[in-house]
Symmetry: C2
Subunit: 396 residues, 2 copies
C-alpha cells in the first residue's frame, strides 16, 4: 500500500487552524495524513490581543488550547518552530525534525514592519503574540509602581503608540480604559498620564472608513484622553522615548509600535516571490510556481476584483482556510478546484468598552450598537473553530 498523501500545515493562526479544523471534518483517515505545526500548543486570537495588552482582559481569554480544537486521531499536532521551508525538495525544517510533504499550507502570520526606523525594532513593544502582550501589560503596571518611588519621572506615565490603524486604534481605546484603574490603584493623579497616538497619515483609524466615522471615532478617543499627532512620522525610537519628524522629542518609558506588518520572513528566504513578505497567490491561493503550496493569512496577498489587495485580516484568513481545506479535499478526490472568492463583510474597530465604529455589509455602525456587533463577530469565530461548546466556554 502506498503511503497516504501528507498534508502539512504550518502555523495555527486563523488561516492554518481553520484549514486543519475543516480538513479533520472533511477527510476520512484513508484520504490523507494531516500534520499541523505550531510554535505554541495554543491558538491565539490575534484580533483580540489589544485587550490583554492593555490589561482590560485576561490573556487566557485570547488563548485556546489546540488540543481542544484538534482531534489527534485525525490531525497530528507538532509543537515546534519552523526554521526553513524548502519548496523544491518539498520539505520543511523544524527545530527538532524535518517533515516531507505532498501538500503544504503556509499560515505563518506576520512580523512587524518597522520601515527601517532606527530603534523601533529594539525599543518599541509590539502587539503580536500572547507573550508580547503579557510583556506590555506587566510593563505598564511596572511603570506605575516605579513612578510611585520616582515621582519626577512623568515619562513613566507617558505612552506613545506608533500607528493608528486597526490595532493601534483598538489598543489606545483599551489603554484609555485601563489607565484610570491603574491611577486609582496606585493613587496617581490621572492628569499626569499622557497617551500619544502618532500616525503618518493625516487621519487616524483604519483606512477606508468613511470620514464621518473617522471623526466620530477620533472624537470618542480624544474624549478618553488620547492625544493625536497626525501627519507625523516617528524618526527614531530610543530607550528614552521617540523623536518625531519635526525633531520634537517625546520622553516616554513605553512605546508601542503598531505601524505596520509584513509577511513572515521565512517565505522570502524560501525563494517565494514576495511583496512586503507576502506572496501574491493564484485564484486557488497557491504560490504561482508551486501548485502544491497554499498560502493563507498574512503571508498571502489576494487581489480584490477592483485590483487592489485586500488588507490582511482575521476575516480574510478564516475564509482562505475554509477554501484551502475544500480544495485540498478536492485534489485528493480528483475533483475540480473552486476559486477563492471573498465576500468582504466590513470592519468594526473597537474604541474601548461599549464603543466601536465601522462598516458592516455596507452599513455604517457606531457606538454601543457597533460594540455589540463586534462581540457577535468575535463570537461567530469561536463557533466556526470550536462549535457551541467553545462558544459557551469563552463567552459566558
Amino acid at each position: 500500500m502506498n503511503p497516504l498523501p501528507h498534508v502539512v500545515i504550518l502555523g495555527a493562526g486563523y488561516g492554518g487552524l481553520v484549514t486543519a479544523i475543516r480538513l479533520q471534518k472533511m477527510l476520512n483517515d484513508q484520504e490523507a495524513d494531516v500534520t499541523l505545526v505550531n510554535k505554541h500548543d495554543y491558538h491565539y486570537l490575534t484580533a483580540h490581543l489589544h485587550k490583554p495588552a492593555a490589561g482590560t482582559d485576561r490573556d487566557d481569554n485570547a488563548c485556546i488550547s489546540i488540543s481542544e480544537l484538534i482531534d489527534d486521531a485525525k490531525v497530528h499536532f507538532v509543537k515546534s518552530t519552523v526554521l526553513e521551508i524548502q519548496p523544491e525538495q518539498k520539505k520543511v525544517v523544524l527545530e527538532d525534525r524535518v517533515l516531507s510533504y505532498d501538500y503544504l499550507v503556509i499560515g505563518l502570520g506576520s512580523e512587524p514592519e518597522t520601515f527601517g526606523i532606527p530603534g523601533v525594532r529594539e525599543y518599541a513593544f509590539k502587539i503580536r503574540s500572547i507573550n508580547s502582550v503579557r510583556l506590555i501589560r506587566t510593563h505598564i503596571e511596572y511603570m506605575f509602581a516605579k513612578y510611585k518611588l520616582e515621582p519626577h519621572r512623568t515619562d513613566y506615565l507617558t505612552f506613545v503608540i506608533g500607528g493608528s490603524g486597526l490595532t493601534g486604534t483598538e489598543f489606545v481605546g483599551e489603554l484609555a480604559d485601563r489607565l484610570p484603574d491603574l491611577c486609582k490603584k496606585y493613587r496617581v493623579d490621572s492628569s499626569l498620564v499622557n497617551i500619544y497616538n502618532v500616525e503618518m497619515a493625516p487621519q487616524a483609524l483604519p483606512m477606508g472608513l468613511p470620514s464621518d466615522l473617522v471623526d466620530y471615532g477620533m472624537d470618542v478617543l480624544r474624549r478618553k484622553g488620547i492625544t493625536y499627532q497626525l501627519s507625523t512620522a516617528i524618526k527614531e525610537c530610543t530607550p528614552e522615548g521617540v523623536v518625531l519628524g519635526s525633531g520634537e522629542f517625546i520622553k516616554a518609558a513605553t512605546v508601542i509600535w503598531t505601524g505596520g506588518v509584513r509577511g513572515n520572513h521565512l517565505l522570502e528566504e524560501a525563494g517565494f516571490e514576495t511583496v512586503k513578505g507576502r506572496v501574491k497567490v493564484d485564484e486557488y491561493l497557491r504560490d504561482p510556481r508551486h501548485p502544491d503550496v497554499f498560502i493563507v493569512g498574512d503571508c498571502s496577498m489576494v487581489q480584490s476584483p477592483e485590483g487592489t489587495p485586500y488588507p490582511p485580516s482575521a476575516q480574510l484568513a478564516v475564509r482562505q482556510g475554509a477554501n484551502v481545506a475544500r480544495n485540498l479535499a478536492a485534489i485528493l478526490r480528483n475533483q475540480p478546484l473552486k476559486p477563492f472568492q471573498f465576500d468582504y463583510k466590513g470592519t468594526v474597530a473597537s474604541l474601548g468598552k461599549h464603543e466601536a465604529v465601522g462598516v458592516v455589509n455596507g452599513k455604517k455602525v457606531k457606538g454601543r450598537v457597533a460594540a455589540w456587533i463586534k462581540r457577535i463577530i468575535d463570537a461567530r469565530y469561536l463557533l466556526i473553530i470550536g462549535g457551541v461548546r467553545l462558544f459557551l466556554k469563552k463567552i459566558t
Copy 2:
C-alpha cells in the same frame, strides 16, 4: 484662656499610630491638641509587607486608611513629609508648613542599612513601604514576561535575597510559594528558577532562635527551593547581579536587600545622639537631653534588663506607643510617669503558607501550629488599633 498643650506625633507606623489611638481614647478635648503627621494617608503593616512583595497577598491587605483609625474630632491628621526636626526650637518643618510642639513623639521608622556595600542602595529592591513592595511584585512578574521573549536570559528567573533575618526569611518563604504560580501562568519550567538567600552569618533565620528551630526552618525553606549561601558577604551589587565575597558572580535580574535597617536619618540630622540612627532613650522612652521628646519604634533603642538592646520589632513599637500615650496623659495631668517595661513575648517567623517557626513565651513552636499562632499575633494587632470592626474586615 491659654492654648492647650500641643502634642505632635511624627509617623503613623506601629509606634506613632498606637500613641495616637491611645491618646484619642485617654484625653478629653480640654487636655491637649494632638496632631499626627504621616507621609501617606494610610498606615501599613510593615511586618506583613513580605506577602504583597512576593505577590502572595494583595497590598491593600497590608494597608489601613488612617481615617478609619483616627477620630478627626480628637486627633488632627496632617498628610505631609517631615523635612527637619528642630528640638531646641520645639519645631518640626514639614514640606508644606512648620509645626510647633510642646511634646513630640518621633516614630519615623527605619531606613535600609547597606553597610556601604557598593550598588546596594542603587540596584537592590527594599521591602520597606507599600510603594516599594508594589515595585517588587510588578518587577517579578515583569521578569517572567520578559523571559518568555528572551528564553536565554535565565537571570530573569534568578532571585537573590541579601540577608536572612526575619524579613529575608519571611520573604523567601512567600517567594517560594509564589514562583510556582508564575511558572504555571507563564508556562516556565520551574527548574530554571533559582532563589538564593545570601547571609553573612553562619546560619539563617532570625537571631536568637534555638538551633533546632533554625535547622527546621532552613530545612523547610530548602525543600521549597531556597539555596542558602551562608557565611557569605555580598561585595557588590550591580545592575546585572551580585558579586559575592568569594568573587563569584550571581547573574540575577532581581536583587532584594533585607540585610539590615537603621533609624531614620532625620534624628541624626536633628542633633540627637544616635547609634545606627537610633536614640538610646531613657526609661520613659525620652531623648535624654530633651524630656519633651519621646522616641518610639525603629528610631529608638531600648536596653533589655540583660543590657543588650531589644531588636526593633512591631511588638516593641506597639508597647512603646502605649507607654508613651500613658505617660503623656500623666504629664498633662501632673501625675507620675511610669517606666517602660517590655514583656517580650517572642518571635514567630513565617516560612510561607501553613509553615512558621519561633519561640512564644519561652516555648518552641513550628509548622502549622506556629503558622496559626502567627495569624493570631497579626489579628491581635488589628484588635489593638482598630477594634473588632477592623479585625473582622481584615481577617474574614
